[in-house]
């Protein structure tokens, strides 16, 4: 150690002087009262915080349930749409097979053309109807409105 004090007397004097100069500060008289106020404030904040936490958890739970229900409805809707398309295609095919001989006896050689044109018109009408009533809400609102009026 290069900083060793030169003599023991100086070391002793320094120790005594430091003991005198570095007196531990006393807690201010109002410290305990201020602390009690701060603790009361913290307790109130904590109570508010726990209420908000419970509320947030409940809302998150509800939102999760709604999302799950929405997802399930969407899957059901897609299945129904697919089933309707497949059934419709089979029904149209069967109708065409049955109607073609009758149509040929009445219209003659133009029967396939008439049937194709009719099919195209029906397809266009369905597509237009589907497009114009595209938002499901509007469709249900229309249905509800109709039901009320009826």
């Amino acid at each position: 150690m290069t900083h060793e004090p030169a003599d023991a007397a100086l070391d002793r004097a320094l120790d005594a002087a430091l003991t005198h100069a570095l007196v531990a500060p006393q807690l201010p008289a109002e410290f305990r009262a201020r602390l009690q106020l701060a603790l009361a404030r913290a307790a109130a904040e904590e109570a508010d915080g726990s209420h908000l936490t419970r509320l947030r958890q409940r809302l998150e739970r509800e939102q999760g349930q709604q999302l799950t229900e929405l997802q399930q409805s969407y899957v059901r809707l897609r299945r129904r749409t697919l089933a309707a398309l497949v059934s419709g295609a089979f029904a149209v095919g069967a109708a065409a097979v049955l109607a073609l001989p009758w149509l040929a006896s009445h219209v003659g050689p133009l029967a396939p053309l008439v049937m194709s044109a009719t099919g195209a018109l029906v397809g266009l009408a369905v597509a237009f109807g589907g497009w114009s009533l595209r938002p499901g809400v509007a469709l249900s609102a229309f249905a509800t409105d109709r039901a009320h009026r009826d």
Binding site: P5, L10, A13, D15, L18, H20, A24, P25, F31, E46
Partner: protein, 207 residues
Amino acid sequence: MQTADAGAASDDQEVLELLRSGDAARAFALLLPRYESKIYRLCHALLRERTQAQDAAQESLVRIWRSLHRYDGRAALSTWIYAITRNRCFSALERRRRLDAAFPDASDAGQEWAQLPAQTSAPDAPELSSQQRDAQLRALVDTLPERLRRVLVLYYFEERSVDEVASMLSCPAGTVKTHLFRARAALAERLRGLGLHDPCAWLGGEA
């Protein structure tokens, strides 16, 4: 010393038992009178300023009150409490550092002791009162490197208990002793550097 340690350990155990029984309020009421002064002194030693030390001590105790139910007894209660207090103080120091960087003119506000008149009169002036000498000595202590100053100040605040200082600063007792030795040696050198004819007499000791 051993009796005091045993008493403290017994009190810590009582606090832990109260916490295990779910009575955090009584546990806090038990530890508060034992630690509030020590927490304040630690804050004062780290922050150097009374008002900030008071605020930091209060914030530390509120934090301790909030987290007490999470204390599991793996570390000593004092270790846990001092760690929270040190973190509060370091946050306060960081805030002060940012403030000083933003407003350099107000940068000396946090150094209470450094404002004291270090050299208002000649060092060996006979009319130097005891208070003036103490103030000059404290100003001299403030010129020490921070790690030495903290240890030195806490050592005298805590009635020369090396173990208590080690616990407060979370460092080995050997490190505290080394820092104390270096701090005193540095102070002696600074006293000689002031050009005093007799540093020992200036300090109030025998020539």
